[in-house]
């Protein structure tokens, strides 16, 4: 079975380490905040200028001056810091953020990512995504492995306009967890019940399959 959005978030959360500063993109990456393992403290960075994003506010805490990068009302956790957009992107471009998680339309075996523009469709903008992928050493891309029509999104070469070049080294799809190294995808783990053959079939880029590909496990909720 392909992973659910929640399972994808759960799997990404296992990559968090105690003391990490983390930027989570919109969509599945945002859900990662719900699965931070016990005993691990991470500080969430929101690129509009908040380090230490807390939970959504209660009605009483609601404050129009307190939002995240998705423009949602949020709170600041104890120990948070608030600053300007220039300061925020100094953190991002300066490589100070330990882990960035963001979605994508396509990634390729060279670590290129396309996530912001589909020619012919309405273009809304890249927001902070180009800065995030250029600035971070440690990025996990979350995406579906193939389109609804079965076309692979893990390619030899991205077809859509890029968000960043050669910057992605890990990808979690609904079918597999992969690393990108030396011009190839390396299959590290597969979703429960998903066969290696299915992953091979749905990966258009060069794929290296080790002898043993462990199946991900998830706790019953």
């Amino acid at each position: 079975m392909a992973l659910t959005r929640e399972q994808m978030a759960q799997r990404v959360a296992r990559e968090l380490q105690d003391g990490f500063y983390v930027n989570l993109g919109i969509g599945i990456p945002t859900l990662v905040a719900n699965y931070i393992p016990d005993g691990i403290d991470v500080m969430l960075q929101s690129e509009n200028g908040l380090l230490g994003m807390g939970r959504y506010p209660t009605e009483d805490e609601l404050d129009p001056d307190m939002i995240n990068a998705g423009k949602e009302t949020v709170t600041a956790r104890p120990g948070a810091a608030i600053f300007s957009s220039a300061e925020s992107f100094a953190m991002i471009r300066g490589g100070h953020v330990d882990l960035t998680v963001l979605g994508a339309f396509e990634v390729d075996q060279q670590g290129n990512i396309a996530s912001w523009m589909i020619p012919g469709k309405l273009i809304k903008g890249m927001g902070g995504a180009m800065d995030l992928v250029a600035g971070a050493d440690n990025i996990i891309c979350t995406m579906t492995h193939a389109s609804k029509h079965g076309e692979s999104k893990l390619l030899e070469k991205c077809e859509l306009p890029l968000t960043g070049a050669g910057c992605i080294n890990r990808v979690l799809t609904d079918l597999a967890y992969l690393e990108i190294k030396d011009g190839a995808f390396i299959l590290k783990e597969r979703a429960p019940g998903v066969s290696v053959e299915e992953i091979i079939e749905k990966t258009a880029g060069k794929l290296i399959v080790p002898d043993h590909v462990p199946e991900m496990t998830f706790d019953a909720e």
Binding site: N48, P57, D65, S88, G125, M126, G128, A134, L162, A165
Partner: protein
């Protein structure tokens, strides 16, 4: 107006001198920390052919979105322009030129403009359509593109508190692009919720020192929320 007293008496006075064809840099992220009354004054004045530099372009009927209603904006530099039907329509009809700019690059363009740095190199956008036609140089094995600074004829800024010398503090994430915008205007206008006496703001807590600020005005704000998310 005497000495360092930057206060003006009306919004009309606050935006005195704005003309069609000018470049206006605006603070704000989404609808958070936007100079909503200064924008309304620009609408009232009916100037057009404006180049606007702002992370977003408001929503239908609020923020910078109201300047679209009478087609006052001919060009915008922004990182994200969704959530605005009128904007989309004008963009698709080529009635407005949109220069999509990565968010960090946009902040740095304003910061550099205010700091007298004409251009800077960044890895952001290299290998993407944003890098097309821009000068490329390699630093420490990384390809970077040359991005130019921005200076506005006007910068419009939303602060929380200011003293009459124009020292400004921002509140929470309403800070965002406002401090950079404040440095990058030939004329910088700041509207705030409260103007206090010099000495009342702790000097080390000032976000924007008064040297950058030409005019300040106290206003009342709707502070519309774009995405109201609460937990039960």
């Amino acid at each position: 107006m005497a000495g360092f007293d930057k206060r003006v008496a009306s919004y009309e006075e606050a935006m005195e001198g704005i003309e069609s064809g000018m470049t206006v840099i605006a603070g704000g992220f989404g609808l958070c920390g936007i100079p909503e009354n200064l924008i309304a004054e620009i609408k009232r004045r009916g100037v057009n052919d404006l180049t606007v530099v702002s992370n977003n372009c408001g929503v239908d009927g609020f923020g910078l979105g109201i300047l679209l209603e009478d087609r006052q904006i001919s060009k915008i530099l922004a990182s994200y322009v969704g959530e605005n039907a009128l904007f989309e329509k004008q963009m698709l009809n080529d009635e407005i030129e949109v220069v999509l700019t990565p968010q960090g690059t946009l902040a740095e363009k304003m910061r550099a403009g205010g700091a007298g740095i004409p251009a800077f190199y960044t890895a952001t956008g290299y290998g993407t359509p944003i890098g097309d036609g821009k000068e490329v140089r390699e630093f420490n094995g990384r390809h970077c593109i040359l991005e130019e600074a921005i200076i506005g004829d006007f910068a419009i800024v939303k602060g929380w508190k200011a003293d009459r010398y124009g020292n400004v503090m921002y509140r929470h994430t309403a800070q965002n692009f406002n401090p950079m915008a404040a440095t990058a205007g030939k004329i910088t206008v700041v509207e705030v919720e409260e103007i206090v006496e010099p000495g009342e703001l702790e000097p080390s807590q000032i976000h924007t020192p008064g040297i950058y600020v030409d005019r300040i005005i106290q206003g009342t704000f709707e502070k519309r929320i774009e995405k109201r998310t609460v937990r039960s």
